[in-house]
Amino acid sequence: MRILITLVMLLHAVAGVSQLSLHLGHNYLRAQEWDNVMHYYNYARPWQDDELKPLSHGYDIRAGWIFRWKAIKSLYVHPQIGVRQFSTSANNNKEELFVRLRQYSIQCDVNFNPRALFHNVSAGPLGTRWFMFVSPSVQVWRPYVEQAEQAFYTEGDEEISPTNWSWSAALGVGYRAAMISKQFILSPKFGLRYTPKAELDDLVFAVQGGNPGALESIQRNLILIETGLEFVWIFPRTKSGKGYMKPCSNC
C-alpha cells in the first residue's frame, strides 16, 4: 500500500510539471542478414503453403511524459517506455510456424527546434510547431517462436524467454499538427533509429533449427525507420481551466 501511495504521489508530482504522451507507430526494419534467416527457412522448404516474411514491418506503442526543459529555447525532454513488435508466420502443411520479435524499450527523447536555439520564436505548450528530436534508448529483445502451438524456447517443460540487450539512438522530426478539444495535441513524427550490434541468435537458432550458416556473426547493426503519431494530453493548468492557447502557425 505504501508503494502504491508513493507511486500515486510521484505520478501526481510528475503530472504537475509534464504532459502525458502516447505514441502509436509503424516501424520498417532494415536488416538484410536477419531477413535472410527467413529466406533460408523458405528456401529449404519449397513445399510450404506460404512463406515466412522477413521481420520488416513492426508496430510500436509508447507512453511517456514531456517535460519542459528550457521554454525559451523550446527544449523538451521526453522519457518514454514502449513496446515494439515484429511478427511473421508460415503454414507448413497446416502446422504454423509463428515468429515474433518483441522489443521493450526505455528511451529519452530531447525535442528541440534548431532555429529556436538561436532566435526568439513563438511557441505553444509543447514548443514550436516543427521540432527535431534525438532519442537515445535502451532495449530488451524478447524473441518468441512457436511451431504447431508449441513454444520453442523451453527448459524441460518450462517455457523460457531468451533476452538480449542493445542500445540505440534516433534522429528525427515532428510536427505539432493539430490540437483536439484544446486537450490533445496530435503530432506526426518520423525518425531513423540506429542500433549497433544487436543480437538475435536465439531467434536465428529457433527459425533455422539445425541449419547453421545464415548468419556468420550473431551481431548486426540495424536501421529502423520509425513513423508514428504522438498524442499529448495537455493538462489544464490555467485557473480558467481552458487549457493552453494554440501555438503559432508559422514558426
Binding site: 529466406h39 529449404a44 508449441q150
Partner: protein, 459 residues
C-alpha cells in the same frame, strides 16, 4: 504551407512510407540466393537423403546437377523391403526424430498417417518379463533414467559411455538396457561412444523430443515423392573413385575410368567410405578434413526382419528389450501398419552386431533363443518362418549404419568436415550434421542445405 496542406501531404507521405516497402518487397523474389553468385555445374556423389535433397534444391535454383550413385539403388541408408510382409518395411532410417526438423516438415508434405497408438514396451529383466508400465515404475528404471538424463550435463573426462555407466555404479544387469537406449540408439555399443560428443549432442539437440513413425508409408517412398525432380539427375552404378580438384574444373572418375567435369562437387558418401579411402582426392584433402574424418566413428550395424506364423507378443507392443546378442527388437507391424502383425525387427550395432554377423548361420538361432528366453519355451523358434538380413556393414558403398562420437573427440569434427575445400569440394550427409543431429535423416538434409548455401553464394 498551411496546416491543412501540410496534413494532406503528410497523410500521402505516411501512406507512401507504409506501402512502398511492402510493394517493393512483393516485387522482390523471396530467395536468399537471388544474388546467386554461382552459375556453373555441380556433381553430387551419393544419392542418399543428403544427395537427393541437394540435387532437388539445385534444380529448383536452375543449376545443372548430376548425381553419381555407386550402387544400383537410390536412397542410401533409406531402403525398403517389399513383399516380405503385408506392408513395406524400412530397412534403414525409419523413425522421425523430433517434430521440429526439416525432415519432419518435409514428411508432412507427403501427408502420411503417423502411428498414434500408445505402444507399450516389453522388458525382460532378471528372468522376468515386465510390461512397460510395470518396469517403468521400478527403481531400476529410475536408476537408468537418471543417469541418462544426466548425460547432457556431463563435463568430465572423455570416457566411453560404458565407463560412465560404471562410474555411475549402474548394476551389471542394467547395462544391456543402458546399451540399448544409449549405444544402439547412437549407432554402436556403449564401449565405443565418447561421453564428450554424446553430452554435446544432447545439449545441442534442437529437433524436439517427439519420435514419430509413419503408419502407412515407408521412408523411401516419401523421399522419392518429395524430391522427385532430382531423380532424373541420378546416374546409378557409377562409383566415383577419384576426385581431382587441382585444375579449374573438378574431374570425377568412376570405377570404369569414365570422367565427368564439374565446377563443384558435393560429396555425400558415408564417413566410413571416406575413412576407408574408397574415393581418392587429388590433391589430398587438407589435414583438418582428414583429422575430422578419423574423429567420427561409424561401424557395424544391421536390421534383421523376422517373420513368424503368428504374433506371440501382445497387440500394440513397442520395443522389446532382452539382455542378449540383440540390444533391441520391435514389433514392426504394430500400431496399425500390418493386419497380420507377424514381423519383428532386430536392431544391433557395434560389437553386438560384429559378433552376430561373424556367423550368419548361427545368428538366427541365437536371436530366436534370446526371444524364447523372454517369451518362454520355444515360443519364438517354433513360430519362426523366414528372415531378411539387412547388413549395412556389408554394403560396399556404405559400410555401416550411421556415425557416432568416439572417445577423445568432439562433434566439432563434423563442422570441420563440412567446411568447403578450396570452394570446390563440399561435404554433406548425416556425419556432417551439427547440433547433435548426426545419425538422422534431418541431420543429413540440414548438412546438404548448409553445403548448398555455401556453394551458391561463392562466385
Amino acid at each position: 504551407m498551411n496546416r491543412k496542406a501540410f496534413l494532406k501531404k503528410s497523410a500521402l507521405a505516411a501512406g507512401g512510407v507504409y506501402f512502398l516497402p511492402q510493394f517493393l518487397l512483393s516485387c522482390k523474389k523471396e530467395s536468399p540466393f537471388e544474388d546467386l553468385k554461382f552459375n556453373g555445374t555441380v556433381g553430387i556423389v551419393g544419392a542418399g537423403a543428403a544427395g537427393l535433397y541437394a540435387a532437388y534444391l539445385l534444380r529448383k535454383s536452375g543449376i545443372p546437377v548430376e548425381v553419381f550413385e555407386a550402387s544400383d539403388k537410390i536412397g542410401g541408408r533409406i531402403r525398403t523391403l517389399e513383399g516380405f510382409a503385408d506392408f513395406p518395411i524400412d530397412l534403414g532410417a525409419e523413425e522421425i526424430h523430433g517434430e521440429r526438423s526439416l525432415w519432419y516438415d518435409a514428411v508432412r508434405e507427403a501427408a502420411p498417417e503417423f502411428i498414434t497408438a500408445d505402444l507399450e514396451d516389453i522388458y525382460y529383466f532378471n528372468g522376468v518379463k515386465y510390461t512397460g508400465n510395470e518396469f517403468e515404475n521400478s527403481p531400476e528404471y529410475a536408476q537408468i533414467s537418471s543417469i541418462i538424463d544426466a548425460i547432457a550435463e556431463y563435463n568430465g573426462s572423455d570416457i566411453s559411455a560404458l565407463a560412465y555407466a560404471n562410474v555411475q555404479q549402474l548394476p551389471e544387469n542394467l547395462i544391456p538396457f543402458f546399451n540399448a537406449w544409449v549405444g544402439n540408439e547412437n549407432g554402436t555399443d556403449i564401449s565405443r561412444i565418447g561421453m564428450a560428443g554424446l553430452a554435446q549432442a544432447e545439449r545441442e539437440w534442437t529437433a524436439g523430443e517427439e519420435n514419430l513413425m509413419m503408419r502407412n508409408r515407408d521412408t523411401l517412398s516419401v523421399l522419392l515423392e518429395l524430391f522427385a525432380i532430382a531423380i532424373p539427375s541420378v546416374k546409378l552404378n557409377t562409383p566415383i573413385t577419384n576426385i581431382n580438384y587441382e585444375g579449374g574444373k573438378v574431374v570425377l572418375t568412376d570405377n570404369e575410368g569414365n570422367t565427368f567435369m564439374k565446377d563443384r562437387v558435393i560429396v555425400t558418401s558415408s564417413v566410413k567410405v571416406l575413412f576407408d579411402q574408397l574415393i581418392e582426392f587429388v590433391p589430398s584433402l587438407p589435414s583438418l578434413h582428414l583429422q575430422a574424418i578419423s574423429n567420427i566413428g561409424m561401424g557395424a550395424g544391421f536390421k534383421l526382419i523376422l517373420k513368424f506364423e503368428e504374433p506371440f507378443w501382445p497387440a500394440n507392443t513397442g520395443s522389446i528389450y532382452i539382455p542378449g546378442p540383440v540390444p533391441e527388437f520391435w514389433a514392426t507391424g504394430d500400431g496399425g501398419r500390418s493386419a497380420a502383425n507377424n514381423v519383428l525387427t532386430a536392431f544391433g550395432h557395434g560389437s553386438y552386431a560384429e559378433a552376430l554377423l561373424q556367423s550368419p548361420s548361427t545368428m538366427i538361432e541365437a536371436i530366436l533363443d534370446q526371444l524364447d528366453d523372454c517369451f518362454g519355451g520355444i515360443t519364438a523358434s517354433s513360430r519362426y518362418v523366414d528372415h531378411y538380413l539387412m547388413n549395412w556393414t556389408a554394403q560396399p558403398y556404405i559400410r555401416g549404419t550411421y556415425s557416432y562420437p568416439i572417445p577423445g573427440t568432439s562433434n566439432d569434427a563434423r563442422a570441420l568436415l563440412s567446411e568447403p575445400v578450396k570452394d570446390k569440394i563440399y561435404f554433406a550427409g548425416e556425419a556432417c550434421a551439427r547440433n547433435g543431429h548426426h545419425g538422422t535423416v534431418h541431420g543429413a538434409l540440414e548438412s546438404a542445405f548448409f553445403a548448398i548455401q555455401q556453394l551458391v553464394q561463392t562466385p
